[in-house]
C-alpha cells in the first residue's frame, strides 16, 4: 500500500448528501476484476446518461476537475453497500483523498486499506471549500496528513481522522503482516474459545 503524506491537487466538489457506494460504483460492475478498469466506470450513472453521453452538470465532467485527485463531498459520503470495489474505482480513477463532514463506516475502513484518505471537516467547512472551488475551479488544495490540514484559497482548515487510520496511511501499513506478529496470542485465544464456548465450533 502506498504511503500518504501530502497531496497538492485539483479538487472536485460533489455536493450530494448520502452519496452511497451504489452511486460510486453501480452494482453491475461488481463482477469486474480490478484489472478490467474500475476507474473508467466510477460514478458511471451520474457521469453518463443512458446513451453513454457525458452529463454536463456532473462536476467530474467539468474540464477543470476531470483529473482531480481530491473530492469534496457532503454528509454521509460512501454510505450503503460494503463493496470495496467502490474504493478501487475512486483510487483507480486517481482519487487519493475525499473530504466530507461524515463517511459511511465501512467505506472509510475500506479506504484506509487502500491508501485513500478520508478527511472529516464540519458541514460549514465542507460548504466553504466547495464554494471556493466553484468560484475558482482551477484551485489546487494542499492536504497535509501529518498536520491534518487543508489549505484552500489561502485559508487553512483542520480535518479530523481516526489516529490509527492516520498512522496506517502515513506508514502504508499492511494489516496481515502486523497480525501475524501476534500469532501466539491468537492461538491461545482460540484455545480459550474452544474451552469456554465449544458451540462456536459446529460439528461438521
Amino acid at each position: 500500500m502506498d504511503k500518504f503524506h501530502t497531496l497538492t491537487a485539483a479538487a472536485c466538489p460533489i455536493d450530494l448528501n448520502n452519496l452511497n457506494t451504489d452511486q460510486i460504483l453501480p452494482a453491475r460492475y461488481l463482477k469486474w476484476t480490478r484489472a478490467m478498469g474500475l476507474g473508467k466506470v466510477l460514478f458511471q450513472d451520474l457521469r453518463f446518461d443512458a446513451q453513454g453521453r457525458e452529463r454536463a452538470d456532473f462536476p467530474l465532467n467539468n474540464p477543470a476537475w476531470r483529473h482531480a485527485k481530491i473530492l469534496v463531498g457532503a454528509r454521509n459520503f460512501g454510505c450503503g453497500s460494503s463493496r470495496e470495489a467502490a474504493v478501487y474505482a475512486l483510487y483507480d480513477h486517481g482519487i487519493r483523498c475525499v473530504i466530507a463532514p461524515s463517511f459511511g463506516d465501512i467505506f472509510s475502513g475500506n479506504a484506509v486499506q487502500n491508501g485513500l484518505l478520508t478527511a472529516i471537516v464540519t458541514d460549514q467547512e465542507a460548504t466553504a471549500i466547495m464554494a471556493a472551488l466553484t468560484r475558482t475551479p482551477e484551485l489546487s488544495l494542499i492536504v497535509d496528513l501529518k498536520r491534518q490540514s487543508i489549505l484552500c484559497d489561502n485559508r487553512s482548515y483542520t480535518f479530523s481522522i481516526d489516529p490509527v487510520r492516520r498512522m496506517r496511511l502515513l506508514n502504508g501499513w499492511d494489516d496481515i503482516a502486523l497480525t501475524e506478529s501476534y500469532r501466539d496470542r491468537i492461538t491461545a485465544f482460540r484455545a480459550s474459545v474452544r474451552e469456554q464456548r465449544p458451540w462456536v465450533f459446529p460439528p461438521l
Binding site: 448528501n17 454521509n76 463517511f103 465449544p198 462456536v200
Partner: protein, 470 residues
C-alpha cells in the same frame, strides 16, 4: 462492585484478543460468512499463497448472482455461472462448506445463517456485506466488512477494530395492529437520519422490541446499517432460545444447557451508560413508506411528499429536490396517490416465512393490479411457504413465484426494475439505481407491498385488513 456494562461492552470484551496502545483491538471472529462477492478476497489469499485459517468457522452461500426467475438447474447466463463457479472453486480449494445452487439449504446469506443455527447469541460474526448487521437479532455482534478485511479474516480468523460508540434506541409501549418491524425501523431511521448511528454499535430495547418475533428482530437489525450503525443488537431472551432449539448447527443437549446459561448473561446491566440514548413511542408509529432516494426519506402512509421550498436546511432541501426529480414526484402529492408499476417481495430484510405469510394474508382472494415477483429468502422458506399454500395465493393474485436469492433487491442476477418504473419493494435500499438504472424504489413492509399490489397505489394496509378474513 464492577462497573455496569452494556451488552455491547460484554460482547466486545469476550472477543478482544489484545488492544494496542493506539486503541485498535484485535478481535476473534467466531463466524465468517462469504458469498460470490468474495472473489477479490480469495484472489488476495491466492496471491500470498495462503489458505483459509479456520474452514470450520467459514460458511459460504450463493445468493447475489443466483437466477430467481427460472427454475433451478444449469445457469444459462455465462457471467452469472462464472460468479457461482468462482465461489465453488474457492471454497472447495479451501475446504469451506458451501450451500451452493443445488443445496436445499441455499438462500440469502443473512437468512441462511440464522435458519441453520449458525448464527448464535454471543458470536462475533462478519461477512463482506453491509447487511451482516442482521445477525445481531439473535444477540450476536455482527458487522459488514470490505474485501481487504475479508482476506484478513480468511487468513487469520481475526479482525482489527476500534471499539465503536454505544447507542441505544428504546421503543416503549405497544405498536398498533398492522405496524411491523419494518415500520419501526423506518421510523427510527427517519427520526435519527441515515447517518444517525454512524460509528455506533446500536442496541434495540424496550417493550415493542421484546414483543417482536425473531423474524421481526432480523428485519430491524438488518436495517440498522441504513442508519449508519456498525451493528444492531437485540439481547437474547426466551424467544431467541426457542427459535434456536433444534436448528441443525445449534448446540444440543448438555452443550445447549451450558450455552443458554452463558447466553442468558448477555444483556445490558441496569444503569449501564450509553453514549447516545433515543426513545420513541410505539403507539406513534404508523405504516411507513419511503418517497425518496435515502431510507431516511420515510413518512407515514397518510402523509404527503415534502416540499423542499419549505425546508430551511439547504443541504437537505437540495437532497429533496434531487430525490423528487429522480423519483418523478412533485411536492405535496399525497403518498396514497402514488401509482406503482411493479412489486417485489424478497431480500434479506423481508423474505422470511412470517413476511410471506403477512403479504399472503393481504393478497388472499385478491389480485394484483401490477406485475411482481416474490422470491423467498431461502430455499427452505420457499419449501415451507409451498407447504402452507402461500405460493398459490401469490400465483393466483398474478405474481410470479420465484426461486430464492438476492434477486431484485440489487439486480445482480439480471432481475431489474426497468428505468422509470416505480416499484413497491420489501427491500432495504431505495438508492438511485439500486434496483436497476433509473428504477424508482419505495420501501415498505411485506403487508404494505401486498396492499400496494391490490390497489395499484401506495396504500395503508390497515384499510385492507378490515374485511379480510385471514
Amino acid at each position: 462492585m464492577s462497573q455496569p456494562r452494556t451488552i455491547i461492552d460484554k460482547l466486545w470484551s469476550a472477543h478482544e484478543i489484545l488492544r494496542r496502545d493506539d486503541g485498535e483491538s484485535l478481535l476473534w471472529v467466531d463466524r465468517h460468512y462469504v458469498h460470490e462477492g468474495s472473489f477479490h478476497a480469495f484472489a488476495k489469499l491466492a496471491a500470498r499463497g495462503a489458505k483459509v485459517a479456520e474452514p470450520q468457522l467459514t460458511f459460504a452461500v450463493t445468493d447475489h448472482y443466483m437466477p430467481t426467475r427460472r427454475p433451478r438447474g444449469e445457469i444459462d447466463n455465462p457471467e452469472l455461472a462464472r460468479m457461482v463457479r468462482q465461489l465453488e472453486e474457492n471454497t472447495a480449494a479451501n475446504g469451506v462448506k458451501l450451500f451452493g445452487p443445488d443445496d436445499p439449504r441455499q438462500g440469502i446469506v443473512h437468512v441462511v445463517g440464522p435458519e441453520q443455527g449458525l448464527t448464535l447469541p454471543g458470536l462475533l460474526i462478519v461477512c463482506g456485506d453491509s447487511h451482516t448487521s442482521t445477525h445481531g437479532a439473535l444477540g450476536a455482534y455482527a458487522f459488514g466488512i470490505g474485501a481487504s478485511e475479508v482476506a484478513h479474516v480468511l487468513m487469520t480468523q481475526t479482525i482489527w477494530q476500534k471499539k465503536p460508540k454505544t447507542m441505544r434506541v428504546t421503543i416503549d409501549g405497544v405498536t398498533a395492529p398492522g405496524v411491523s418491524a419494518k415500520d419501526i425501523v423506518l421510523a427510527i431511521i427517519a427520526h435519527i437520519g441515515a447517518d444517525g448511528a454512524t460509528g455506533c454499535a446500536l442496541e434495540f430495547a424496550g417493550a415493542a422490541i421484546r414483543a417482536l418475533s425473531i423474524e421481526g428482530r432480523l428485519t430491524l437489525c438488518n436495517m440498522s446499517i441504513e442508519a449508519g450503525a456498525r451493528c444492531g443488537i437485540v439481547a437474547p431472551d426466551a424467544a431467541t432460545f426457542s427459535y434456536l432449539e433444534g436448528r441443525p448447527y445449534a448446540p444440543k443437549g448438555a452443550e445447549l444447557d451450558r450455552a443458554m446459561e452463558s447466553w442468558s448473561k448477555l444483556n445490558t446491566d441496569s444503569d449501564a451508560p450509553f453514549e447516545r440514548d433515543v426513545t420513541l413511542e410505539a403507539k406513534n408509529i404508523a405504516p411507513i413508506v419511503t418517497w425518496g432516494t435515502s431510507p431516511e426519506d420515510a413518512l407515514p402512509i397518510d402523509a404527503s411528499v415534502p416540499d423542499p421550498a419549505r425546508e430551511s436546511n439547504a443541504a437537505r432541501a437540495a437532497h429533496w429536490r434531487d430525490a423528487l426529480a429522480y423519483m418523478g414526484l412533485t411536492a405535496g402529492k399525497r403518498l396514497s396517490e402514488i401509482a406503482i408499476d411493479r412489486v417485489f417481495i424478497g431480500s434479506c430484510t423481508n423474505a422470511r416465512i412470517e413476511d410471506l405469510r403477512a403479504a399472503a394474508a393481504v393478497l388472499a382472494g385478491r389480485s394484483s393490479k401490477v406485475p411482481g415477483l416474490v422470491s423467498a429468502g431461502s430455499s427452505l422458506v420457499k419449501q415451507q411457504a409451498e407447504q402452507e399454500g402461500l405460493d398459490r395465493v401469490f400465483r393466483e393474485a398474478g405474481l410470479q413465484w420465484g426461486e430464492s436469492g438476492c434477486s431484485m433487491c440489487v439486480g445482480l442476477n439480471g432481475d431489474l426494475v426497468a428505468s422509470g418504473e416505480r416499484c413497491a419493494s420489501t427491500t432495504n435500499r431505495n438508492f438511485r439505481g439500486r434496483q436497476g438504472p433509473g428504477a424508482r424504489t419505495h420501501l415498505m413492509s411485506p403487508a404494505m407491498v401486498a396492499a400496494a399490489a391490490v390497489t395499484g397505489y401506495l396504500t395503508d394496509v390497515r384499510d385492507l385488513l378490515v374485511d379480510q378474513k385471514v
